[in-house]
């Protein structure tokens, strides 16, 4: 997991306080920080690269913003900072806590670019995850936040020709964010998105 870069030396006396009701653009790097405790663009992009292997180039054309304490938003264009509006793009990450947590919507939108810490779920496990259930599963990798994914809508060209042949990664679709601890995958699918679906 990425360390929270807000702790420690950067919080000098001359930094402004974060204002909850407006969006402030993330500074490019620690050296550019003007608002106390605010994550940097660099740290956000590093988080997705370090944790999930998402190529930083994926985020090259987006800007990152903070509203409220630690809630990071991703926006497709430029805007003046600060800006007082109700929404600016999509929520992407929760910072200002020990373990940063990517949002459900961010993982559904960008998680298909992930190359690590992706746990593939089969039919019933995927359905249980979407219902919001925790389940005991084997996982050899790191504990912490994982991308739960499954195969869906696989085209004829992507279908395995025999058992054990991997499908194209493009046919693996992120379902949401799971927290893996103590041999258990905990679903963090938001209540409003949970659904009872038939296993594929």
């Amino acid at each position: 997991m990425s360390d929270d870069p807000s702790g420690g030396a950067a919080a000098g006396d001359d930094l402004r306080e974060n204002v909850g009701q407006q969006f402030g653009r993330l500074p490019a790097t620690d050296a550019d920080r003007e608002v106390e405790g605010r994550a940097t663009r660099e740290a956000v992009i590093d988080f997705f690269a370090d944790r999930f292997g998402i190529d930083p180039a994926i985020f090259a054309d987006f800007t990152f913003w903070e509203k409220g304490k630690g809630k990071i938003w991703i926006f497709a264009d430029e805007a003046p900072s600060p800006i007082s509006v109700e929404g600016l793009g999509m929520t992407v990450l929760r910072t200002r806590q020990e373990h940063w947590k990517p949002t459900h919507s961010a993982i559904q939108r960008f998680g298909n670019h992930a190359t690590k810490n992706v746990i593939e779920l089969d039919g019933e496990a995927a359905a249980a995850f979407v219902r919001g259930e925790d389940q005991e599963l084997d996982w050899e990798g790191d504990w912490g936040y994982l991308i739960a994914a499954h195969e869906i809508g696989v085209g004829p060209e992507g279908r395995p020709v025999r058992d054990g042949t991997a499908v194209e990664r493009g046919e693996r679709e992120p379902i949401g964010v799971g927290l893996y601890v103590y041999g258990e995958l905990r679903s963090t699918v938001p209540k409003g998105n949970q659904e009872s679906l038939s296993p594929l």
């Binding site: 054309d61 987006f62 991703i74 926006f75 497709a76 264009d77 430029e78 805007a79 003046p80 800006i83 007082s84 509006v85 109700e86 929404g87 600016l88 793009g89 999509m90 929520t91 949002t103 919507s105 559904q108 939108r109 979407v130 869906i152 809508g153 696989v154 085209g155 679709e173 379902i175 409003g192 998105n193 659904e195 009872s196 679906l197 038939s198 594929l200």
Partner: protein, 302 residues
């Protein structure tokens, strides 16, 4: 008396019109191209055993005859959004391009707004405005679910909308899908006409004129403004367009309506409207087995 009776003189086949208004509306979804494509959605629905029917005029719309469009895997992934056929028309008329600045004055709950974002490949800016906090929350929820990143959500009165928060001072395009008396949604909401009064039609028309005027003012010369409602009342349709033709710098332009439609009316209950409103489109429920709709495309001239 059924308020729809007043439109009988405008309709070619009144029996078919009234019969269609009695039938429930077919369930239709739009494929969200920000996250998927029609081919993959169809394969996924096949795998899941969910029945669907193509919508002839648009590859990205599917009829789901078994109902509950929100309970399947593609929907969970944000690949689908419930949106009836006529509701897909105004965004097509607006034809927004990637990278542009677009204003959606009455955006919530966001079917058309998110369609605009998808048509723009989620690049540029869609400013989605609404004046109701509860409706804005459903707009936000839908945009997140569909993976939209180019949407700015604002809560202002569309009639005096301010561009002050943004780093630009005019839009390339604007869409006014106005609050209206919703007569055309009778197939979806059978009790929608229970509260109908002519006073309400007139009061909502005043709001519509205010918002459409602001949309024309906020759009650059040469830019496009689309006006739409889901109602039949000429007071809320041609009369509103006629008003802005008189008060603002704009003109009606043609667009290819992908559904069968008839021309806007130039005379109604003693009033007459600018001839050019004949280039606007009325969609009656019996013409395509859809909801009722009105759509006009304007070009800003001044």
């Amino acid at each position: 008396m059924n308020p729809l009776e007043r439109y009988a003189p405008l309709v070619d086949d009144t029996d078919a019109f009234f019969a269609a208004c009695e039938r429930p509306l077919p369930s239709v979804v739009r494929v969200n191209t920000i996250k998927s494509d029609s081919e993959r959605v169809r394969r996924a629905l096949d795998d899941e055993g969910v029945a669907y029917e193509p919508v002839e005029w648009h590859d990205g719309l599917l009829g789901l005859p078994d109902g509950s469009p929100g309970t399947n895997w593609p929907y969970f992934h944000g690949w689908l959004h419930g949106q009836e056929e006529v509701s897909a028309v105004p965004a097509l008329a607006l034809d927004p391009q990637p990278g542009e600045k677009v204003w959606d004055s009455c955006a919530a709950p966001g079917s058309k707004t998110t369609q605009l974002s998808a048509m723009m490949d989620d690049r540029g800016v869609v400013v989605g405005n609404d004046n109701n906090l509860g409706r804005l929350s459903s707009l936000r929820h839908n945009a997140e679910r569909l993976g939209v990143t180019n949407l700015v959500v604002t809560k202002q009165d569309g009639r005096n909308f301010s561009l002050k928060p943004f780093g630009f001072d005019e839009f390339d395009r604007a869409i006014v899908d106005a609050p209206c008396s919703c007569e055309g949604t009778i197939r979806k909401n059978p009790d929608t006409l229970d509260e109908w009064t002519l006073e309400h039609v007139h009061s909502v028309a005043a709001v519509q004129k205010g918002i459409l005027s602001r949309a024309v003012q906020a759009t650059k010369p040469g830019g496009t403004v689309v006006y739409s409602t889901c109602t039949f009342a000429p007071e809320e349709n041609e009369a509103v367009v006629d008003h802005v033709l008189e008060t603002e710098d704009c003109e009606v332009v043609d667009f290819d309506c992908p559904l069968d439609s008839v021309s806007g009316v130039t005379e109604w209950e003693g009033d007459s409207y600018d001839r050019s409103v004949e280039r606007t489109h009325r969609i009656y429920p019996h013409l395509n087995d859809t909801g009722g709709f009105y759509c006009a495309k304007l070009e800003v001239t001044g």
